[in-house]
């Protein structure tokens, strides 16, 4: 079954960075820091917009080709959210350090793996957005992301936030991200699936990422990420303004 635990987050955990956040969900813990807008190196300087630089550091070892791929995915998604046109010739640097990954004795875990690790993408994206909000970087909209796996049998064919053992058995794995205006920002899928199956996955993911705020507890499919993002920020603001 899906790990239907609520995500946890903390904002502004690092004292020296412009903004930072930690985020933990489904066995993954990621810490992110944001510095910016700062001066861009000449190579990255763009005359009309800010350069968004994403650095992903794995839990163990140094980053390889997989981390470069994750960085390019996050970079293209976050550039859509940040108002990059407001900061020409500048750099916004986002560093994401994976602190913990779900352990599983049955799945062979190698230190260096080249294939894309789907379940870590939502954690990275969520951390980056929280850190950007903490750094008060102007953004057009926020986003929320989730992982859905299609498993062959069982009562539930769609599995939200699958554990590594489920991923091995899954027919297909999908990562979807939605902006706060309910638009599809990112879609990555692999495995064997049809357009119809993808449609079902889309429905399930959209339910999690951009559910309207109803207190409907019966058909609870997973965490309500938009609501979570809002309450996390509200708590932080309330804490910061406590002295008033």
């Amino acid at each position: 079954m899906a790990a239907s635990t609520e995500p946890e987050a903390a904002l502004s955990v690092l004292p020296r960075a412009d903004g930072s956040a930690t985020y933990a969900h489904a066995g993954y813990t990621v810490m992110g820091s944001v510095n910016g807008p700062i001066e861009a190196s000449r190579r990255d300087e763009h005359p009309y917009e800010a350069h968004v630089d994403v650095i992903v550091r794995p839990a163990a070892g140094v980053g390889g080709t997989r981390e470069r791929h994750l960085e390019s995915i996050l970079q293209s998604s976050l550039s859509q959210l940040i108002l990059v046109k407001n900061f020409p010739r500048q750099l916004i640097q986002i560093v994401l350090q994976i602190e913990a990954t779900p352990e599983n004795d049955y799945v062979n875990t190698k230190l260096v793996q080249a294939s894309l690790n789907f379940p870590v993408v939502p954690a990275l994206l969520q951390t980056a957005i929280l850190a950007l909000l903490s750094a008060a970087v102007p953004m057009r909209e926020t986003a929320a992301s989730t992982v859905v796996a299609v498993v062959p049998q069982g009562a539930k064919r769609l599995l939200v936030d699958p554990v590594p053992r489920d991923l091995e058995a899954a027919h297909s794995v999908h990562v979807l991200a939605f902006t706060s205006q309910d638009e599809l920002l990112l879609a990555e899928s692999e495995g064997d699936f049809t357009v119809k199956e993808w449609d079902e996955v889309y429905e399930a993911a959209k339910e999690i990422c951009c559910r309207p705020r109803t207190l409907d507890e019966e058909n609870d499919v997973g965490p309500d990420l938009r609501h979570f993002l809002r309450t996390t920020l509200e708590e932080k603001v309330a804490e910061d303004l406590y002295w008033k």
Binding site: E49, G64, T65, R66, R68, H69, E71, S72, I73, S76, S77, S79, Q80, L83, V84, K85, N108, K110, A114, S115, L116, R140, P152, E168, A169, H174, T179, Q181, E183, L184, L185, L186, A187, E188, S189, E190, G191, D192, F193, T194, V195, W198, D199, Y202
Partner: protein
């Protein structure tokens, strides 16, 4: 000097395209109605219609030293891929776990276990080289660029998730009586390393490791589609020699004149990429985005890629009659939603038929 003609106020087309590529592409995609062209046809700067891909040419077995190779040309993007097999004895695999039974029946469980073998022992090693002077933005002699690393990860992921190569074809067996390089008996048990005369069952002694090297000879956009096509064509062309196991010396060897066996490739997944071109560059203004027109440009070339932010890559396989999606990657924008992805499946199917035609030539 004084006799020079008065300066012209209009530029020829190439100069305009170089100076301001975005308005130039926009103007060709949305041509204005004039008396001599009452119904202008939108086209791209390269003369193609928005949903028109470049024709594919595939030539296989051009490299003499590789076990399989293919040269793929898609417009001005040329990619060459060579597959070279090397023998990996199980004794030199760290953390090698002998398996009790290799099921001969082709069920789901066996295939998944085979996939684990491919992944755990790294039997498929793709690598892409972009720094060959194929385009001005890639300097030769520098460490692999982010694009090269990204494509290599995508090719690796797709090779494993599509399971085009079955681990069954890469196992090398030895039996004291007769050598069975690829086939195995139903009750093939992994035996100990001793060479007893009464031992009858074949033993797994080594694996083939396939080094898939991709070289981009000329780069004109859409490198992933061309690279994946080259990988697939090269794997389909791969013939591995039959290996003999010398149990006395404990080495595997294959003679020059040995019989060669074709590698079995499952399915024909074909990648299809498109980029989204926006009338107004995204984020130039916050209001009026609802009437921001967009075009989906199939198989973008290099100049179009620099102007488009959002891309979609869909890998489809229609081999079994039904269209199966093997991978979907959409990033960098919010234009492509659910309806467009559904519609794009049809475009990808059409591309699949084109590529299948080119492969079987």
């Amino acid at each position: 000097m004084a006799a020079a003609a008065p300066p012209s106020l209009s530029f020829p087309r190439p100069v305009f395209a170089k100076l301001s590529p975005h308005p130039y592409l926009l103007r060709t995609l949305a041509p204005q109605v004039s008396p001599d062209t009452p119904t202008p046809k939108p086209s791209r700067t390269n003369g193609r219609a928005p949903h028109e891909a470049r024709p594919v040419y595939i030539h296989t077995s051009s490299l003499s030293h590789a076990h399989g190779s293919a040269l793929v040309r898609v417009g001005d993007t040329t990619v060459i891929c060579g597959v070279r097999g090397e023998i990996l004895p199980v004794t030199s695999i760290p953390q090698y776990r002998p398996r009790a039974d290799f099921g001969e029946d082709d069920d789901e469980e066996t295939r998944r276990a085979g996939r684990g073998e491919l992944k755990d022992y790294d039997l498929l090693v793709p690598n892409i080289e972009l720094a060959t002077g194929c385009a001005p933005q890639f300097l030769p002699g520098v460490p692999p660029s982010t694009l090269a690393q990204t494509i290599s990860t995508r090719v690796y992921s797709l090779l494993h998730s599509c399971a085009v190569v079955d681990a069954k074809n890469l196992r090398i067996w030895a039996s004291p009586v007769v050598t069975k390089p690829t086939g195995c008996d139903d009750d093939a048990d992994k035996m100990e390393e001793d060479d007893e005369e009464e031992e009858e069952k074949p033993e797994l002694v080594a694996y083939w490791v396939l080094y898939v090297d991709i070289l981009v000879v000329s780069f004109d956009g859409n490198p992933f589609d061309a690279a994946w096509m080259a990988v697939l064509a090269a794997l389909r062309d791969t013939k591995l020699p039959v290996v003999t196991w010398d149990s006395d010396r404990g080495v595997a060897f294959c003679s020059r004149n040995a019989e060669k066996r074709k590698l079995q490739i499952k399915g024909l997944p074909v990648a299809c990429t498109a980029a989204v071109f926006l009338e107004k560059e995204h984020g130039s203004e916050t209001s009026g985005e609802e009437n921001n027109r967009h075009w989906i440009l199939l198989d973008p070339d290099r100049s179009e890629e620099t102007l488009c932010g959002e891309t979609i890559t869909m890998v489809v396989d229609c081999e079994g009659g039904e269209t199966r999606l093997r991978s979907l990657e959409k990033q960098g924008g919010t234009v492509i939603g659910r309806e467009l992805i559904r519609g794009f499946a049809g475009v990808a199917e059409k591309r699949w038929r084109e590529v299948k035609g080119a492969m079987s030539k």
